[in-house]
Symmetry: C2
Subunit: 350 residues, 2 copies
């Protein structure tokens, strides 16, 4: 049975302000080329998962924008979650909306806001995972092979090698974002992979797992399936819990395949800087920019032109209505601007 | 006879790019409040010089914009120089276009791109100069009393006190932009004033002085007066020479009155920074800006909002189509951006 894909596109966030807004979160941005991260997520599934086997879950606020970005997505394959309730409710709700035929087979759950430099390698690993999931009825994560001692990601700690596919290993436990020393140890030890939130399983298996391991979510979803008029109310009352915590951490036989495909979660302007190729002076440019005697800056012009002289290590972002300037190493602090705008009532910029 | 004013508004320049453009040079910008520097120049003349005694000289390229900014300026008081040929041709050409009645009296020539913090003090000095000019038929400069050892301005070296008005002194010579040590000496010695390009004289006296002291300019102007159809050609053939060099430096009896009125030539983004009041952290803000943990920046938003975190001593400028970021102490280097845009053929940004 062919693989189906469920792309999660309901996320929100402020780390790419001013490019990202409430109405246009990161996954809808073209951070890395001409296509948005969401579009690129769907693009790179083909030909392994053709468009007609892709479902996209999002929130009411983003549904119109998702539809506009993915004009080939049939209305029955756009799943609008009644409210943002994290990934366990979102996945359970979306699986129930997929045809029985699709969810009896393997389903890949994919975040919509990550970058993959090598789509072929990505598809090869995804195909291998789908084969294991369907044949052995196993739930898998793709585990990104670390390339640095990253403290910003969660990790999968792997155990025994498992039969069924080269590289397949048991996941012993999830590790939350580590401190620097622990991350160094993870990187050196070779027994930890980044949790990129990419999972593969038979859809019916996951529905059963949610019902068994996250009964509050499972019961709530069952109740709203039985009474569609109550969907909005019942969905909003579900616990906002991730699929990792609600299900994956509790699963027997949860496994992982190592993924090496130039993956990046693009978690900040700094991460985008690191992912883009530099000019001779190390400047990373998106859009129109002029740099004179300037080094190692990220110059991101969504509209108009950015000109810099004599600056180093800055993030400069220009959108239609705003400019952001901050040192690259303080990229996380963009949230302080967002907080200030919130307290100043500048909803027009949020 | 009442004082008339000739405002020179034909200048061009790149030091306020991206706010200033070929079609919108500095004098047309509202750098310091809601009115442009040109509008503020005319505003501050009243009530000493009412609007109907103000003439404005500019170039063909800027005439429409000047007309728009000064709707009260009658068409006979907008003097369009056929080409930009510096101040000696511009002043001679404009004086010939003023009614004989006006140019028989005192005329003040004023740059249109400077800032005056105290208009009343400015008018008082201008009125005193006009009285001397008319009564004694003397040519005067207003000499700005220095407040710092500025190396970016020309200076007037003063000599003997002259009778006729308190503070009136002979100008011994013009001094070009000095080096740092010389500027310090000028400031300490008390015998040097900044040359702000503000002159007062009887119009007919200046016409005669041009004819006598700058015969090439004088003869060219006389020829084109006699044959208006040749004006564009003959004017363009005049030497592009300043009134300082062509006339003032050679004049017998040239004098100055000291001017203390919070004058600034606003010669760069750095100078604008120094002229604007700072917030608690020393940031100077024009338009909409949000500064978090940021100090001593100039944040100039002509449109939209500028947000900065953790930066110090930067100039950040946002216009409808461009952003400039550079360290304040390198503000002069904005010309390097302009040069780059020129060589890249980006006329849309020039």
């Amino acid at each position: 049975m062919p693989l189906s894909a469920l792309v999660l596109a309901g996320g929100s966030g402020t780390r790419f302000w001013p490019a990202s807004r409430r109405s246009r979160p990161k996954q809808l941005l073209a951070l890395d080329g001409g296509r948005s991260l969401l579009q690129a997520t769907v693009d790179r599934l083909a030909p392994l998962v053709p468009a007609e086997r892709v479902w996209v879950a999002t929130t009411p606020a983003l549904a119109a924008a998702v539809r506009e970005q993915l004009p080939g997505l049939g209305p029955d394959r756009l799943v609008v979650e009644p409210a943002p309730r994290n990934t366990a409710p979102a996945i359970g709700f979306a699986l129930a909306r997929m045809p029985v035929e699709a969810r009896r087979g393997a389903v890949a759950v994919l975040p919509s806001d990550h970058r993959v430099a090598e789509p072929e390698a990505f598809r090869a690993t995804l195909a291998a995972a789908a084969e294991v999931a369907e044949r052995d009825d196993r739930v898998l994560a793709l585990g990104v092979v670390p390339t640095r001692a990253e403290t910003g990601f969660g990790y999968l700690e792997v155990g025994e090698a498992l039969p069924g596919a080269p590289g397949l290993r048991e996941v012993v436990r999830f590790r939350e974002k580590p401190d620097r020393a622990t991350a160094e140890r993870f990187l050196a030890g070779g027994r930890h992979l980044w949790n990129g939130g990419i999972f593969v399983f038979r859809g019916e298996t996951m529905r059963a797992a949610i019902a068994r391991l996250a009964p509050e979510v499972g019961a709530g979803l069952a109740a709203l399936e039985g009474d569609p008029s109550s969907a909005a109310r019942r969905f909003a009352a579900l616990p906002a819990v991730s699929i990792d915590v609600a299900v994956m951490e509790k699963l027997e036989g949860f496994a992982t395949l190592p993924l090496e495909c130039g993956w990046d979660d693009l978690g900040s302007w700094q991460a985008l800087h690191d992912a883009l190729p530099g000019d001779g002076a190390g400047n990373r440019v998106h859009g129109s920019a002029v740099a004179v005697d300037a080094r190692d800056n990220l110059l991101f012009a969504e509209q108009g032109t950015i000109a810099v002289v004599g600056v180093e290590g800055l993030v400069v972002v220009r959108t239609g209505d705003a400019v952001l300037v901050l040192p690259r190493e303080r990229a996380q602090e963009v949230r302080r601007i967002v907080e200030r705008l919130e307290s100043n009532g500048r909803d027009d910029l949020l």
